[in-house]
Structure formats: C-alpha cells, structure tokens
C-alpha cells in the first residue's frame, strides 16, 4: 500500500493529461491487483503507482443513452438504496460529462448543505441545480457541482458515470460524501475502527 497513490478518476484524468469528456470504457481505472482491465497508454505509464480509489463501489446500469432527453432528469439510487441521484443531459459540456457532447452528468439530490431534496429545482437554462428550497443554494452541474452560490462548504457529490458501446450508462463511483452519511458505502453494523 505504502507506495501506491490513491486517486479518483477525475484526478487521474488530470494527472495523466487527458481532457475531460473522454469516454473511458471500463469506468474508473484500476491497475494491478484489484478489479477491472487496465486502460490505454496512460494507465500503463502510471501502472506502478495508481490504485482505484473506489474499488468497492457497485457497477450498475442506471439509464440508457437512447432514453435520455435534454433537460429531463432521471432519478436513481446509488451507491445504496435511499441515496438518491439525478442524471440529466444539461446541454453544456460538463466536467465528468459523458455522451457524444460530454453533457450527461449525475449528482446526489441531497443538498450538500443541510440535505434538502433538490429533486424539483433543476434549472436547464443554466445547467444548474437550485435554488435549494431551504436556503437557496445553487450548484453548477457543468463544473463538478461547485457552488454557484450558497451555503454548502463542499461540492455537491457527483456520480462517476461510464457509457458502454451498447448505450448503457453505468454508475461506477461517487465523488464526495453524500449528505447525512458518515460514509457513502454505509453499513449500520460498522464498528469504530
């Protein structure tokens, strides 16, 4: 472990000099002992150092590209039941966006400030989530869920998505901690350690 560097896919993309919006078959990159196939030249060059940050996340199909209509959110639970997310084509090139125009993104719908549901406040004009019904926070979905303005002290958690050749959109991981949880992959039985 000691010589391994743990990264999420976003950091990996930046570290390896790849532009955002490139579709990675295989989702989050893994080299070495855990999980899926390595990808490409960049992975090989990092092979000694890089380990998947989220090896335990479920890898599930959450939508089909053909069913996605611009500006019409689709909801799904991820990574566990009760953790609600919104997938939407925002028609703006987005950080971590997938699809032909890199404009399909998915985010937790629990406000990163105090957990208000954001299900009904998607603003397509700006590709923005909010104003939150409770404290009016707004999040930029093209910019990895950073505050446009508002009360959250962290980004809105974003779901890592992958688009398969057959048009399946898979969720493969989560950036950031979902409101209300001490861990995204949460087990009530988990003891202190």
């Amino acid at each position: 472990m000691a010589e391994l560097q743990t990264v999420d896919r976003r950091s990996f993309l930046k570290l390896s000099g790849l532009a955002t919006g490139i579709v990675l078959s295989g989702g989050a990159v893994i080299v070495g002992t855990v999980g899926r196939r390595p990808f490409g030249v960049a992975a090989a060059s990092q092979a000694a150092k890089v380990q998947l940050a989220y090896p335990d996340y479920p890898d599930v199909v959450v939508a089909k590209l053909a069913d996605i209509k611009a500006g019409e959110p689709v909801f799904f639970d991820y990574p566990q039941t009760g953790q609600k997310n919104m997938l939407v084509m925002i028609e703006r090139e987005a950080e971590e966006g997938i699809g032909p125009d890199s404009d399909i993104v998915a985010f937790s719908t629990a406000c990163a400030h105090m957990g208000s549901p954001l299900d009904n406040v998607y603003n397509h004009e700006y590709g923005m989530l909010g104003p939150c019904p409770l404290h009016f926070s707004t999040f930029d979905l093209a910019k990895s869920g950073m505050n446009v303005m508002g009360k959250a002290s962290d980004h809105l958690p974003q779901v890592a998505l992958t688009l398969d050749d057959n048009g399946d959109i898979r969720a493969t991981g989560m950036y950031g901690l979902i409101y209300g949880y001490p861990a995204n992959l949460f087990s009530k039985q988990e003891s202190g350690s």
């Binding site: 743990t6 990264v7 999420d8 950091s11 940050a53 989220y54 009760g82 629990a110 406000c111 990163a112 400030h113 105090m114 957990g115 208000s116 549901p117 603003n123 700006y126 590709g127 923005m128 909010g130 104003p131 019904p133 409770l134 404290h135 009016f136 707004t138 930029d140 093209a142 910019k143 950073m146 505050n147 446009v148 303005m149 508002g150 009360k151 959250a152 002290s153 962290d154 980004h155 958690p157 989560m174 950036y175 950031g176 901690l177 979902i178 409101y179 209300g180 949880y181 001490p182 861990a183 995204n184 992959l185 949460f186 009530k188 988990e190 003891s191 202190g192 350690s193």
Partner: protein, 845 residues
Amino acid sequence: MTPRESIPLPPVDAEVKTMSCQYCIVGCGYKSYVWPTAGKNGTPDAAGNALGADYPTGPLSGQWIAPSMYTVIRRNDGRDYNVAIVPDRACVVNKGNHSPRGGSNAQGIWSPYGPTHDRLMTPMVKVAGAQQPISWDAAIEIMAATIGHAKKTYGGPAMAVRFYAYQFYENTYPITKFYFGDIGTPNGAIHNRASMGGETTALSDIGLETWGTAYEDGLEAQTVVAWGANLYECQDVYFAEHIVPAAAPLVAVDPRRTFTAAYAEDTVAGVHLQLVPGTDVVLAGAIARHILDKGWEDKDFVANTATTEDLAQEDAWRRKKWAATFDDYKTYIEGIDAYTLENAARITGVPTEKIQRAAELIAKPNDDGTPRKTLITFEKGATWGINYETIGSLGNLALLTGSAGQPGRGITRAGGHQEGYAGGADYPLDLATDTYEGNTIPNYIDQHMADGEVKIYHVIGANPLGMTNSAQWSRETILGKQAATPGPQTLDTDEIIANFIGRIDNDGMLLFAQDIFPNLTTRSADLVLPAAGWGEMPGNRWNGERRLRLSDRFMDPPGEAKPDWWVIAQVAQKMGFSGYDWKDENEIFVAAAGLPSDYDVTALRKQLQDESANHTSHEAVVIAAALQNKTAFDVMRELGTDGVQLPARLDADGKVIGTPRIHGSGKFDSKSGKAMFLNVGWDTAEAIWERLKPDIAAGEFWLTNGRIEEIWQTMYTDLRKPEVMQRWPSNIVEINPDDAKTLEIVSGDLISLTSDRIARNKDDGFDTGSLTAAAYVSDIVPPGVLWTNFAYPDQWCNNVAPRFMHPVNPVTPFKLTRTKLTKVGPTDLAERISFLPRNIAPKTG
C-alpha cells in the same frame, strides 16, 4: 484535491468544547470534537458517537459532519488527533445551520498534513531580505529596546498600531492598554481602517446603540430594510433562521441586484432600490420627506425625542453643531430640494414609485393605527459610503419610524466580524492632531506615517499593506521608509537593535507584524511574531445581538506561536510597565469588566439586577463567579454556545441573565436620556460625492466592492481551503453585459483596473493604483458600475480606493472608487470555475 467519501465519527468520549464561529458577526455556535487518531472512532448508532446521532441523518439534522468540518491536528504531546467542528443544533443563533465559511471552520485550523501547514511558527527577523527564526527572548528584547527608544526620543505618537477588534477581549485589552495607555499614541487603526474613527459615530450622536436589536426581531418585523447590506451572502444564518421564515417584505438598497435584492422583489413582494453609488443620503432623505408629507411618522415616538432644553445640555461638538428637535429636523428635510421625489429619482436613479413604495413599506401605519414594525439593517454599503451623513440619515429614519428598542422594531448594523474589542485604555483623542473645524478627530495614521511622525508600525492581525485605502501609495511609503538605511547583517540581538535604532534616527521606519499566516505585511516586516489563533487560546467576544460567548481552546498553537496578549505583556513588562502580570486569559477577562479592585459583591449583586448603562457590560459574569466561587471562565463555559446577551445582569438568585435589546426602556444615550435627530444630509455630502465620482464620459467607471459568500476577509484561511480556492482562484470584477459587449470582454478574461485619479484629502492631487481581476459578466451590476471582491490578496481593490477620510468622522469611502478598465487577455478560468448568475431567487406570487 480528492473529495472524501467517508468521515470518522467522534466517539462518545471525545473531548467536546464550545465555540462561536471564527468568522462573521452572526456568531453561530459550534462544538469542537477532538479524539486521537490512534483510538477508536464512534459508531453510527445514537449511543455510539459524541453527537448522539443516528446515521444517516435526515435533512436539517445539524448532526452531519461534512468533509469540510473535519481535519487532523497534532498536539504538543506529539500525537495526532481527529477534529470535527460541527454547527451546534442546540444554539439559539443557528440551530445547526451554517454558512460555507463556518461549515469549513475545521479546514482553517492548523494541520501538519493540510494546506494550513504554513502557519507562522517562530519569531523571525529580516536579514538582507530573508526572514530567519530567532528566539522569543531576542524578539521581546528587540521590541522593548526599539519601542523604548522611539518613545523616549520622539514621544508616544512615534508608534503606530494597526490591530483587530475581533479575536477576543483577552488580546485587545492588553494591546489598547499598552499602546493607548502606557505608550500613549493617537496613531491607532483597525483592520483596513486607517484611523480609530467609529463607523457609526452618527448613530451614537443620535443616541442609538449600533448593535441594539435581538435576532428574533427579524421574525417579528413587518418590514426588513437591508441598506447596503447583502444579508444572504454576508449574514447567512441571521437571514436564513431569523428573517426568511417570517417572509416579511424586504427593502433592499444596493447598487447591485444581489441575491438579497432579487429575493426582495421576486420572493417576498418587497422592493429593490438600485441606486447610483454614493447617493444613499438623497434616497434616505427622500424617503423621510415622503413619510413626513404623508404624516406616517411615529407621532408618539418623535414627541419624546429631545427638546431644545434637552439639546442645550449637550456639550459634544458634533451634537452642538447638528443635533436637532423633531420640528427643526422636519424643517431641515423640507428645505433640501434634492429630497423631492422627482429630484431624488434623478440623482439616485431610483424611480419615484419605488421610493414611494419603500416609504410605505417602512412607515405607513397599520390599519388599526399602530406603527408598522420595521427593522432597519445596514452595513458597509452605508458605512463605507459618505459615512457621517449616510449613517445620520439612517438613524433619523429610525427615529422617524420609532424603530428603536421594541420587538420587531430597531436599527442595527448587519455585517462584519464578531466584536472582541475591550479597551484597556481609551483612545487618547487629546493627543490626536487631525481636526475638523478646530475640533480634534482621530488621526489618519497612513498620512502620519508619510509625514514622518511614525517610527515603528506594529501590525497585529491585519494586512494593511494590501487593505488600507490607497494601498499602493501607502505600501510604497512604508517600504520606502523601511529602506531608509541598510538592514541588519547578522542575527546578533545587539547588532539588530543598534541597526533598527539607526533606522529610526535616520527618518526611517520599522515594521513589526504579528499574525498567524504569512501575508503581504508579514513578508515585508522587519520583525515577525507568530500568534495563536482561534481554538488555540480561550477568548470572549460577542455577536450581532451582543451575545457574549467563550470560544474555548481545543488545540495547541503550532510551533512557538503565542497569544497576542502574551507578546504585549512580555514587552510591556520588559519596558517596566506594571499591570501586565496576568497569569491567564481569565484574569484579563475579569480586568476587562472594569470593576474597581475593591468592589462590593453584595452591592453589585443588587445593582446588577438592573440594566447597566454600559450596553456591553459583563460585570455580572464576574460577580456571579464570585458568588459561586468559580472563575469567570467557568461561568462563561456553563453558558455554552448560547452565552449571554449584553449587558449581562443578575437574577434574584445571582445567576447571569441577558438583555435581549437595548433602548427597550425608552432610554437613549444622551444627557437627557432622549434621542435626537441630526440635521446632516446632502447639503454637505454632495461636495464629497462630486469629488469622488467617476468621469463616465472619459471612460471611468464606478468601482464598488463587497464580499463573496464563501470568502472571509483577507482570505487568511480561505487561501488554504481547497474548496474556496477551486471556486475563487482569482479576484473577479463584475461587468454589465452591455459594457462587456462594447469592450469585447467575456467571463474569464483578465481585466486591469487602473486609476490615476485616486482622490486624496491632503490636496487636490491624485494617487495612482491598479489591480487585476477576472471578468464575471453579469447584469447583477448596471452599466457604468463595476464590482470586485474586497480584500482579495494581492489583487487588492484598495490599491485604487480613495486616500480620503470623511472630514467629520475619519472613515474611508471604500465603496466609492473610480477606475478605468482594460482587457489584458483570456485565461483558462472559464473552464475551471462557474460563471453562472449568483442572484437567482425563487419566484413566488
């Protein structure tokens, strides 16, 4: 940075301390949880963690620990500890709510593993341009010797001190005792303000307390006024918890259509008065005149304001010059042509119907004849304009509408830092040499430095090289005087002292900087003193409803950093001054209560059941401690995050109770106990405005400024918070889309803002200054007006702020700056940060 997707929970035996937030005046309650990284974490069941929370928590729980609320520290025992700093859901101020600033309190504290690792940790002396560590003994010796020499040779005014008013009585009391008392200098200044001129002097002259209201007034008011106060961004939790729930109409007065202004019009059927910068006096005068025309004034209230006989008792010069009875005030208002609706609309740019609507919302009596309950909040859009006339005009409006001291009715500042100023000695106005019409006013210290009076500039917890007014001129002045003679060539203490005294005696100047992080001022300093920060010493201060709380110590200062009070006490004792032998912060807190040494507990116990005339008295805390055989800090710790609203009082059992609002008894701060109008307005303010305004035809813009929600002050912690720096890696300048189109500017372009017409008091000449910022194209600003963040390090907007103090009350019109604009070129910012509009409020009705 890699976002965290899990946070350890504090175990039930974690150390818990009560804190008030380290940032804004709202003063939310927080709790710090500390537990060893080598120990066991808590579990997600309610019985298994220190928050007693059953995870996952639902919305509004106030029990979720966001990633930004967590860090790892190291204590002097060499061990690492987890720290979580979580909003206190039991605190009456915030009920578990938080702003983006407070939500990241933990990210601002020292961590050997985090971006805050670069704290100042040892005293340092600059030798040949590089600062090197020295011992505290050497640092204290150098300070005592040089200050002693300067005082003996040139007198007290040879010292200038620029300090803070926020981080704890226990530090400001010793600082003021030393510099205003034993040293005796009139060259004092606070934060960005280059003098000790009060920001609300006119309100005091009227007889009103600046912080006289209770937060709950926001829930009782029928109308809330936000005058030059961006409540949503800068008073987050006050607005969210104490104003929004009642949904009273909001009157927002701001040159920008901020979220607060948009909320006023789109969400709660209020009104936004989008005025030309600096015309507040005209707008307030026109509203007052309309109220008088309609007979909407609170007749009972104004009948009880000062009479001619009451005014005759007053001997302060400003009151003798401007204080007025209601009848005189009415005549005065009706005599100013600028205050007719039509003229006011022309000057301020606010349509007449909006002025009328505002007057109606502020003053039209209810159908049953009772006065409308109006809460007037104001902040730097008012204080940093044409200060004396603007604040006087707002205070007059408060009297006219009886907005003082009653539930839902009052006037208050709404912004800034928590108040931790305790005067160990009064500001020595008798030593000041600046004047207005022969009357002494506090010195404008930057000018006194330029004029050669100041030999040593001691800066404590401030960054004036960037954030004083006309900062570029001031910075050049100071750096030039530091370069008057070559600096020391060795780290030998005697040689350093001899060298520094040589500089003093050769028309030069020394800069001492005492702070927690390196910044522009510490990097330029001859001597650097590392200070203890929030959480590293216990200390008291109060919030926007005078709620005094102890913020406790939960960690050790890094390295050799020391509390500011300790540094002052060492220097003062080395110089032979007495009364600085405090053994801890509690002793200073007791001293700051100002009780005589032979106080009579029994008599005071009885006397303190009544409200003290001192609106911020904490004598009752000291007496309660004596009665209960405890320390005053013990009493404050028991009061927890709710603390006590000053003035503190005692109940029949000798327990501490608070005072929700000032002037509740109808008594005001004057000899007669009555409030008085001030006949100040556009008749004197206009000439100042004319002197400061831009020449639009020549390509100048108004450049005004303010705060961005996520950013606190000079960003001393923000610069080290990944979340803030991802959002705001550069200063920004808002530009109206019409102006942007003309100038071919898009969001993200780097812009140069330059002025060679920076107005100055001294003469009719001008200073020059400039800054860069990234364009944020938005109709939040009207054409002709630019807006930038105040105090963004190195891209300082005060480089172009006027070298100008209000002549009556020395406060700088920071908001009234003018500049030219040129495009430097594109950047990659548009790819990295959001440029979406920051003023979208929910639409209702």
